[in-house]
C-alpha cells in the first residue's frame, strides 16, 4: 500500500485507511528520518481510533499509553519511541510484553530498528510503515508492508 501526503490533512485520510486494515493485537512500526511526521501520524491514528487525548512525543518518556473508547477496534494505543535506546538490552526495560499483554492493544513503535529482534520475538502481526521525503520537498511518501 502506498500513499502520498501533500498536506497535513492527508495524514487523517491515511490513518483512517490504515487502522481499518490493522489486524487485532497488531504492532505498527514507523520508520523515517527526524521530522518526517511520525508523531504527526500517530496523532492522526489516535483521532481515527476516537481517542480523546492528543498523543505527544514519547521520545523522552519512551512510552505513552492512551485509553481508547469502546467503539474503537483496539482497547489501548501504546506509543513507543526507541529513538533514545542504545542497545537491545535497553529494550528490555521498556516492558513491552507487559504493555501489550492486554488483549486488543495497538502498539505503535517509532525507530523500530533500534529494538533489534525484540518485536519479532513478541510473535504478533507486524505492519511496517516507512515515511520518506525528497530533499527540498514538503511531500511525504508513505509505504506500508504487512
Amino acid at each position: 500500500m502506498k500513499f502520498i501526503v501533500h498536506r497535513i490533512e492527508d495524514w487523517d485520510l491515511l490513518a483512517k485507511q490504515l487502522v481499518s486494515r490493522l489486524p487485532p493485537n497488531a504492532i505498527l512500526t514507523l520508520s523515517g528520518p527526524l521530522g518526517a511526521g511520525k508523531t504527526t501520524l500517530v496523532q492522526a491514528i489516535s483521532r481515527a481510533l476516537g481517542a480523546t487525548e492528543n498523543p505527544r512525543s514519547p521520545t523522552f518518556s519512551l512510552v505513552r499509553s492512551y485509553k481508547l473508547p469502546n467503539t474503537s477496534p483496539f482497547s489501548t494505543l501504546v506509543h513507543v519511541d526507541a529513538y533514545r535506546l542504545e542497545n537491545e538490552a535497553d529494550a528490555m526495560t521498556l516492558g513491552l510484553d507487559e504493555l501489550s499483554a492486554e488483549d486488543g492493544s495497538l502498539l505503535v513503535v517509532e525507530w523500530p530498528e533500534r529494538l533489534g529482534s525484540t518485536l519479532h520475538a513478541m510473535r504478533k502481526p507486524i505492519v511496517q510503515l516507512t515515511i520518506s521525503q525528497d530533499a527540498g520537498s514538503e511531500v511525504r511518501r508513505v509505504e506500508v508492508t504487512e
Binding site: 521530522g35 519512551l62 538490552a89 530533499a135
Partner: protein, 346 residues
C-alpha cells in the same frame, strides 16, 4: 527544633537519584544529593562494571541508597518520598520497591510523589525563592520530556493551563542539534553556538505564538530546521560554520520567544504572585535572562523564581521537597499499596 529528614528516591526515567533533605521550620537543607549519571561508573559499582541496561536502575539504586544512609542506616531519615509517576513502569517500580522495603523495615512514613510536582518543588529549594513564595504561582516546566505551564493555585493544588501538543522544548533543541550534526546533548551545544550567531540569521517559525491559547508546538520547528539546514550541508566549510552558528541562534531565539510570550500571557491572565522556571531547559541562560527581563518590564511586582541550576535536571532533592509539602499536609501512603502510575497527570 529537630528537623525532619526526608529520603528522596527518583527512578522515573533515565536517572537514578537519591537525596536527603532536612526540613526544619523555615530552614530547608539538602544534606545529600546523588545523581547516578554524575558519578563515575567504577565508583558506583565498586570497580566492577556490570553489563546492565541503561534504565535497569537496580544496581544504581542499591549503591546510592547504601552511600546516602551510611553508618546511620535506617536512622538516617524520618520519612521517605518516592516518585511513583509519571514515567516508565519498569523504572518507577525499582524506586518504589526500594522505598517500600525501607518503609516496612523502618516503620517510617512513605509518600508517593508526582515527578512534575517534584520539578515545581525544585524552585522551593532556593531560600530566596521561599521568602517570596506566595500563591497563586505560575510555573514554566521545560525539559526534554516536558513543556507545561502549571498554575499553582495553592499548596499542592495545580492546574495545567498550557502544554506542548507534540514535542517538548528540550526535544526541539536536542533533535535540531542532531539534524545539524552536533553531539548529544544538543541543548547546551545549541546555546554555545548561539553565542556567536545571529538570532535573525534564519527566519524560523514561532509556532502557535499568536493563536490565543497557552499551548505549545515544537514539532514543526524541527522540520523547519531540517529544511533550512539541508542546502548548507554540502556547502564550503567556512560558510557552513557561520550558517550553523546563525541557525543555532535563530532556533534558540524562536524557542525562547514562544516560551517567554506564553508564560507572560499566562502570568497576566491568572494574576499570579510569582513565576517559577524549572526543568532541564531552564539551565538555558537566554531563557532565564529573557523571562526575568520580560517580567521586570511588564509585571514588575511579580518575582521571578527559577530553580538553582543544581536542581534543574532530574534529582531526588526535589522529590523529597515535594514529599515535604505533602507530609506537611498530613498525607502519607500505606507502603503496601503504593504503586507505579506511568500515566499520572499532575
Amino acid at each position: 527544633m529537630k528537623g525532619m529528614r526526608i529520603l528522596g528516591i527518583e527512578t522515573s526515567c533515565d536517572e537514578t537519584a537519591i537525596s536527603i533533605l532536612n526540613v526544619s521550620g523555615k530552614s530547608v537543607k539538602v544534606e545529600q544529593n546523588l545523581v547516578s549519571s554524575q558519578i563515575p561508573i567504577h565508583q558506583k559499582y565498586g570497580g566492577v562494571v556490570p553489563e546492565v541496561a541503561a534504565r535497569s536502575h537496580v544496581p544504581e539504586t542499591v549503591a546510592l541508597i547504601t552511600e546516602v544512609l551510611g553508618k546511620k542506616g535506617l536512622k538516617a531519615f524520618d520519612a521517605i518520598a518516592v516518585t511513583n509517576g509519571p514515567g516508565l513502569a519498569t523504572a518507577l517500580r525499582v524506586g518504589i520497591e526500594a522505598g517500600r522495603v525501607l518503609a516496612m523495615l523502618s516503620g517510617k512514613p512513605i509518600i508517593g510523589v508526582n515527578h512534575l510536582e517534584g520539578h515545581l518543588a525544585s524552585a522551593w529549594l532556593n531560600a530566596d525563592n521561599r521568602k517570596r513564595w506566595k500563591y497563586p504561582l505560575l510555573a514554566l516546566v521545560v525539559s526534554g520530556g516536558h513543556t507545561e505551564l502549571v498554575l499553582m493555585k495553592d499548596a499542592c493544588k495545580y492546574k495545567i493551563v498550557g502544554q506542548t501538543r507534540d514535542d517538548a522544548a528540550g526535544e526541539a533543541f536536542d533533535k535540531s542539534a542532531k539534524l545539524m550534526g552536533l553531539p548529544y546533548p544538543g541543548g547546551p551545544q545549541i546555546a554555545k553556538l548561539a553565542l556567536e550567531g545571529d538570532p535573525a540569521g534564519f527566519d524560523l517559525p514561532r509556532p502557535m505564538l499568536n493563536d490565543g491559547s497557552l499551548d505549545f508546538s515544537f514539532s514543526g520547528l524541527k522540520t523547519a530546521v531540517r529544511q533550512t539546514w539541508e542546502p548548507w550541508m554540502k556547502g564550503p566549510e567556512e560558510r557552513k560554520d557561520k550558517a550553523k552558528r546563525d541557525l543555532a541562534a535563530s532556533l534558540q531565539q524562536a524557542i525562547v520567544d514562544v516560551l517567554a510570550a506564553k508564560t507572560l500571557t499566562a502570568a497576566k491572565k491568572y494574576k499570579v504572585k510569582g513565576v517559577l522556571l524549572v526543568g532541564g531547559v531552564s539551565a538555558n541562560v537566554m531563557l532565564r535572562e529573557r523571562l526575568e527581563s520580560d517580567l521586570k518590564r511588564e509585571l514588575p511586582s511579580v518575582p521571578f523564581l527559577p530553580s538553582d541550576k543544581l536542581f534543574v535536571t532530574d534529582n531526588a532533592a526535589m522529590i523529597a521537597a515535594a514529599g515535604a509539602w505533602r507530609l506537611a499536609k498530613g498525607e502519607k501512603h500505606d507502603w503496601k499499596k503504593i504503586e507505579a502510575k506511568p500515566e499520572w497527570n499532575l
